[in-house]
Assembly symmetry: D3
């Protein structure tokens, strides 16, 4: 056999041992319902590569990635073109994660991947709040006649955890009906300090990377001007640290629109910082 | 009212009057079954824009685009996400074109759009031969468990016109089964002069732009090295001029992968030259 | 005839009927005096395409684009290379707009297009104030020996409406003489609230997109660091809503320098928001 | 004073001494009449930079650039925006070159720069043949109502040297009238060997880089498919070696459309090879 | 444990089992001596990703990749910045491959990686011929005062196998001294059929991807116009099939200069075709 | 001789006369120790070119570049591949600058170039404070086993001027040990006003351009999200104006990752503004 040494091809700083890990990172290269600028299917592997360009130490949290015991399980192999079977695969694997008393950290792929994850988690946890970072409400009942759409993901999640348990941050685009729904259920958060209300909840955090301004994150499907700077996002993350985070995901990087490589590097850093909140 | 003058926003050199036109150009911005690098949905409008950067005169054919009486009908408005309804719309509109004794010139979109066009035309013409320029065989029975796929379009067309009436040019990628099918039905052409055998046929020409080498045409979904130069393609087109062409289409430009604009300009020129063969 | 349905190729949310519309959108694909990075001539059509990637609803204003009755008249067909005739065409068409008691909303092209628009409007309105968003003063008497230059547009406009009626926002580049002129006439505004002074004026708003920071808007002719974020620009727009806006334009997108497509998408959104101020 | 050593910022392999040089290289950063994709103004300096990435030795000619005694005079400083004065500057400087019994090697800029060069040279030489490599005929009398246009450069040159003394290579785009003019004066060459007819002529060689295929040369103003490969161009250059070349230029690189840097590197290599023909 | 299924992250079509494999693919992400446009260090992983966009079946050879029993061993983990230790690591691992009676298939990285491979192989084989596809001679004794340089790799290999046993294909750039060395030892091949002379040799094939024309392969460190088309390279590969190939490598892809992704896709296809020659 | 006029190819606004100048600008195209995304070697010449796209007048300082008497000495010609000799060349030339009672203004290249500059200056000045703008601490003792690395530059400078005399601004990435060192010596500044403490010091200012956010400055080797906006950097520069600045440099632009040209333009503007602080 060859002695190498060989490059580690998993996420930088991961725990190689699944059994002893607390958090399981799962890549979900699925973009089957994206109609505008697709390609988030290529994100998990390219973020993994970019992770090796970062330090493990985070000055803002004062922690090292090695302190988080997370295992990189790799990327699911979806039956391309079959949305329902793909969602089933996610659900089954996420269920297994919680059956083994671990926590899920997903990397999309498009935003619809969050739905089966919440379906799985809701079998293990009650009283779930979903903290939703996004430029878009994603509160449509359907999109282009299709229920299972990334533009409808929060609507379906609302049906599971209750709309009043969705907390939305950074939203700046949607239809009037969606904004009415936001008002009705009071889902919008305006200041990081408001997160403190979730202290006794089981919190799932879902980050659509287009919550960041397209100046920093051009590599996403539907860039919307007026988004957060990286530091603004970090201010929200700081308040997450005190919460009971039972799972999280980061979605919607489209590497084909990231010619400078900055979007992918930023995605890796967002993941590092979110891992440190867990 | 404003006097303008305003820029003509249709294809350069078109006949504004549908009724008196011989050929009807129809944009089909559909890429719903593309799994790898999508975005051909944006092609018809961007090719239209690029058409204004060309001359109407073609030195190679010695003809002017104005001599071809073609009308730019615009782009169909598809129910995004619904493949079957989209194909129906194409079929209905192409039928109407032939019902009015005109000929169809389609601009994709992905290659699957050719299927409903052939279905429509086969109601008006018998003894159809399909001249197929492509890097890929597109002869799969299904792709990713889905029958209606751009990778299966020639298989379905073979079921309509007979596989022995498909003539394939430039093919250089596919599965072994597909190449066996090619051999069985002797679909492959090697030299432009072989086109002369189709003299008494009703010929439909379908051009997947990836038949060109990716050095000239990087802006396509599945670039395959080893393709034609532009002049090699023109040598084939010269032999088309003597045939009875009853319809044609040009498909699979992906403008998002065309940072220099060359692929889009080339697509416009291929269309100009193919129009002059009709 | 073909039944389609066909894609609407005009600006999203426009009123198809010129007669009943209140605002007339006019594309001015002119960049004849640009010496550095040109190509704004391609902007009107590409912004129009990008408009279809937005929602009609604007969360920040709480309004829908459909509430603004604007008609997309298309793009003027300029005699390329002839600056004076091009400016004449703009002037004549804008005059016609006001003769029909409508308001002008221009899309450049380069900034010089604003001059004939103001010339036309000044025949119908007295007491005009021009609110000028830009990175550059544009207050030169001439540029490279040429009076009719995009770098001199505000100087010429000052001659029409009076320099004291120019209000400049976001300026951060120019020659010392230009800044002296700004001080002499007190043209600079520092805070959105200062716009309230224009309450009784007839206000024309001209937005050079390089007022935005080049991090968000790389696709412009002369990018200048230190510009507004999108939200900062929106804060200024909020104060515009109370004013009597008699016309507006948005200029200087250079799509060739916008490889990610973000600049063009931002331009479309700036236009949507400015339309909602009218 | 600083001892350095400092990088040589002139063309690789040049003769630093003007007086003893045989060929004078003159940069002409002018693109004032270009209406489509401009920016050739940036070419001379960027080609100069790229020249340092090449070897001085040319395997195809078996010669070294150092054997050609050429001096890089730098780039003319044009009055931007003033076409006539710019052309005057070129003419005056080129006259000076020939007054000092040297030969001119120009680097554009746009193709119109060749006209004043020919005007100057025609004062010193009779019986001039112009060997014209280009995708376009450039034989219009005017373009967009403007006589002094890059699209009319060969028409004006024909008026000086006689149309029958223009020999055109690689042409594949133009209006019917232009191609008729080509036929009338028999300007077209089809094979490199035909150049031998020019043996007793005073030959000026002008290379519009779009004669190369856009697969290799996307960085040009009006890319036209169907062009030469580099080796095909070199086959023509080989036949140039036997001729009496009294001057030459290479024009129309647009570096802004050359994201990979290949077009600029190729331009530098074309110049190196053409220098070795002199 | 998670059931997945998970995406295979190794080269498409590999044999997962090292022991039973005949060929061992080894990634060598090293670009430490590259001075111009570096980044070939990122090539092995990105080619691996691109391999999944290809078919396993090769129409030109009529074979399937699965018929070649090759194992993807992953990428060596080099001590970045230490050239000598990096070369040692390659040598040790390649020795191990031959000690286990397998053959080496390397993926660079820069061209210097070929040297330790040949050093290792020469311990197991006598009478080695090296078939060298490249735009550059790589025959310098040193480069920038450094012996261990990618520009000197063939010089060092000549010292091992004998210069007369180097056969060079596609060379078109170098210093005069290098071309003299080529002539002295008659290293240059002009036609694929000349490869037949190597029938009784132990052949190592090394492919610097810049042997391909930069129109197809812009993503390389030193692009040189005048290179092979893909089909020309395949014509050479066809003649390789009859030879006794004891090892091979493919080097010098620089993914950072490959904005369209075509260079990386072509690299993967070159590797597939070369594997099928073994 | 040719009369020209010729374009000035030195930095815009420079004093052509070395003897009478106060500040000497020195280009240092060295990136020999960069392991990730290199190419800063190309920065000095490309920034020089971009300088001509700016005004000489700075509205924020109210000064004109012509008021600073700086001379552009050109770029050092380094023995590529030899780090120690390259550093020696810098040191010798910078010594000469101070021997002639002038001040140094360096343009990198990578950050390691600052070390020999400080070594030279420390022979002429005592009590030096180094104001260090950067995203990274650069306080490693070694990097990849190599002492002389851009990642270790501030560690070595600390050994010369004393770590307590390093003041760091904008740092947001590094290893835990580095941040501990920062705390130990209290190197971090949080507000521009803190610079006033350096009033009686001899201040050297070193700007790693990655201190700016990658949204504005994608063209750098190791982009780190969370950086300064341009205006934030200018706020720091305002406080520099009152200090006794004895030298400065601006480093780490990587033009190959700057497809829109914005990073290079910003680099030129940072240099203009820093020159005006001197």
């Amino acid at each position: 056999m060859l002695k190498g040494p060989f490059l580690d091809r998993n996420w930088m700083g991961q725990n190689e041992d699944y059994a002893s890990s607390d958090v399981v990172m799962l890549g979900m290269p699925f973009d089957g319902t994206v109609s505008y600028r697709s390609g988030s299917r290529f994100a998990p592997e390219l973020i993994r590569l970019a992770s090796w360009g970062m330090e493990t130490y985070s000055p803002s949290s004062g922690k090292d990635l090695k302190e988080v015991s997370f295992h990189d399980a790799g990327d699911l192999d979806f039956p391309l073109g079959n949305t329902y079977k793909s969602l089933d695969l996610i659900r089954e694997n996420v269920e297994q994660i919680y059956a083994e008393k671990k926590r899920f950290f997903g990397i999309g792929g498009e935003h619809l991947v969050t739905l089966p994850a919440i379906q799985a988690i809701s079998k293990f946890y009650k009283d779930i709040s979903v903290v939703h970072f996004d430029a878009h409400t994603d509160l449509r009942k359907e999109y282009l006649g299709e229920e299972m759409s990334h533009a409808a993901v929060m609507y379906h999640i609302g049906g599971i955890v209750g709309f009043e348990n969705i907390k939305q941050i950074g939203i700046r685009s949607g239809m009037k009906e969606e904004f009415n729904l936001m008002k009705k259920y009071n889902t919008k958060l305006d200041f990081p300090e408001q997160l403190i209300k979730l202290t006794n909840k089981n919190v799932f955090v879902t980050v659509d990377l287009d919550v960041l301004d397209p100046s920093l994150m051009p590599g996403t499907g539907t860039p919307e001007a007026g988004g957060f700077t990286f530091n603004e996002l970090m201010n929200w993350f700081k308040e997450l640290r005190g919460l009971n985070i039972i799972g999280a995901d980061v979605v919607e990087l489209s590497p084909h629109y990231d010619s400078s490589g900055v979007s992918t590097a930023v995605a890796a850093k967002v993941i590092r910082e979110l891992l440190m909140c867990m």
